[in-house]
Symmetry: C2
Subunit: 357 residues, 2 copies
């Protein structure tokens, strides 16, 4: 029996709706497997700015550090997107959290549920059997380099920057994961142009002899973005920097049919953060139609990675599978053949899931 | 009757094979429409390094400046890709050429030939009717910012940098193109994180009122990479920076079925450079199987954009269409149903094309 303290950080937009379901699932798991999970909640992003002026209030950070794991929603708000001159922005909270908690490794598994093979815009025969695990570096790169306006505001720059130790620690995680899977690792960079990418590639090349059982392939980001669609089964474990990982994993979401199905784990030095890869989706916020499965699968990752509760994690994945097999869909993963009574809102989908747990 | 001087710059790998066919097509057009095209040839990239030690020899640059337009092949060689510490690299020639000739606007049309609808890994019903024109900024961004090693070589950085005038001149080209098409412009950036992207977005927002007939949509690069697969018809004219454009257009090549079908035009202050978006492809170099159609379509773009020869350009596109309709394919665009005798090598495909001109 595990005693654990979980912090729920819904954030903005549909974050609230989907983490509500994620938490219900955690609760049910605790009950079923006899664990004791306690919870707290904290603000981040736009809702935190509204309440306190700060996208990552000190109180939130304190609660985060005190937690055994964090179930996270999303951050962002169109208001700031349309105002490039805003000084305080929701995303600053997210980035600061990643840095403060040392969450340097962002794992994004692209797992295909058979039932959703047809939900993708990519042909099923190209996708079948596809199973990818991305390792996105999360506390370096152009996300955290110096940025500035020069020249009376007429010029702006950001700095893409990597140090060898940063590349090495994420690369080791990826090499080790590759060992437990098909022993293939793809590293993605832009070493034909960027110095930071050449450093990246050097580190990977230097580590490779320590993992002689793992076959390493280097791809440029432009080629990788193309190959991911052309031949997704060529990808197994992929390691890449923060910016390229951001782009490539969003693109890869289309392999799984919808962003609404994809979970991620951000881990590093201490507590782990588990969140959907989708954003705050203000266009559908409050309508009760958001797909909660990414949050539910994030809860499954949380149990597996932070608590080592494998059976519990698999029970959740099996429940998701069962609900999909029973034909239930949220709007984003429905198609023209889905009967109307099988298209569920967020809460109804959550209820179906609980029935299967 | 036009009198023009065209420089052929085959570059590396399959560059030689495909520009040979591109030039044959230009020759045939001159003959058929009564123009006088003279040619010269010059070195760039790996072959230039081998011959002179310099990836962009002074002689090449002089010939480029003296030309009315340039038909370009590709640059790159695996030798350098696997040696991150190489000081002289083929790509430096390409980047210097872009800068020296002021080629700030890279146009990449994603045009779908009906016959190839099935060649893509994306479902035909998602693709049908898709027609995108990318404007990739080509002389700024992290391609040309300062880069350096620090800290005894243990840290490396590159600088993503944009000035307002650089964004404005490419944006104006895109707005103007949008006017002649469906009056929709998508601008892609990462303004929720990057200062250079916030500057980018500011400029687009500031220009928008000058083009009240054009509807502007902003997307973050991660969302755009995802939407391009999910809903490619949402894209019409797209404007973006150098790095994001590099990634997004390679990804978009999968809409057209193969990189082997896509041409690009790089234009700006003086002469224009026309080249396939594919690379040097050393894995198939010398085998005579490369698809020459991207080079042929680059020749068509050259006639249209640099020489204003619309009918001539359309004659080439019609010939490509005819050859595809007749069932001929190079390997990259063939599928399991293509009869063996319809799968042609580079030269044979060129010969079929000439028959149709
Ligand atoms: C919201 C945004 C800053 C963030 C990122 O770019 O990292 C998001 O896209 C993600 O992938 O978590
Ligand atoms: C070869 C490489 C430097 C180049 C680029 O990144 O610009 C290529 O990918 C392109 O798109 O023309």
């Amino acid at each position: 029996m595990a005693k654990k303290h979980i912090l729920i950080v819904p954030g903005d937009g549909i974050g609230q709706e989907v983490t509500t379901v994620g938490k219900q699932v955690l609760d049910r798991i605790a009950e079923k497997f006899g664990h004791e999970f306690t919870y707290d909640e904290a603000l981040i992003g736009h809702v935190a700015i509204e309440a306190t002026g700060d996208p990552l209030p000190e109180e939130t950070l304190t609660k985060m550090r005190a937690s055994d794991a964090i179930l996270f929603g999303a951050v962002g708000h169109p208001k700031y997107d349309n105002d490039p001159s805003a000084k305080v922005r929701p995303e600053q909270g997210l980035l600061r959290m990643r840095k403060e908690l040392g969450l340097y490794a962002n794992l994004r598994p692209i797992k295909l549920f058979d039932e959703l093979l047809e939900a993708s815009s990519i042909k099923p025969e190209i996708l079948k059997g596809c199973d990818i695990l991305f390792f996105r570096e999360l506390t370096g790169d152009v996300y955290f380099g110096k940025r500035e306006r020069l020249d009376d505001g007429n010029t702006a720059y950001d700095t893409m920057i990597y140090s060898k130790y940063e590349v090495e620690r994420i690369a080791r995680k990826a090499f080790e994961a590759a060992r437990t899977r098909s022993k293939k690792l793809m590293s993605v960079d832009k070493a034909n142009v960027l110095e930071s990418s050449r450093l990246w590639r050097e580190v990977i090349q230097k580590l490779a002899p320590e993992y002689p059982d793992v076959e390493v392939e280097h791809q440029f980001i432009d080629a990788a973005a193309m190959l991911l669609i052309k031949d997704p089964r060529r990808f197994d474990v992929v390691v890449t920097g923060n910016l390229f990982g951001d782009i490539l994993t969003d693109e890869a979401s289309q392999i799984a049919g919808s962003m609404g199905m994809l979970a991620s784990a951000s881990v590093g030095d201490s507590t782990g953060v588990y969140e959907p890869i989708h954003g705050s989706a203000h266009d559908i916020t409050g309508k009760g139609v958001a797909n909660p499965l990414a949050s539910v699968l994030s809860a499954a990752l949380l149990l597996d990675i932070s608590f080592g509760l494998k059976a519990e994690s698999e029970a959740i994945i099996a429940a998701v599978d069962a609900v999909l097999k029973a034909g239930f869909r949220t709007r984003d993963i429905a198609n023209s053949e889905t009967p109307a009574d099988k298209i569920l809102g967020t809460d109804a989908m959550g209820a179906e899931l609980l029935k299967n747990l």
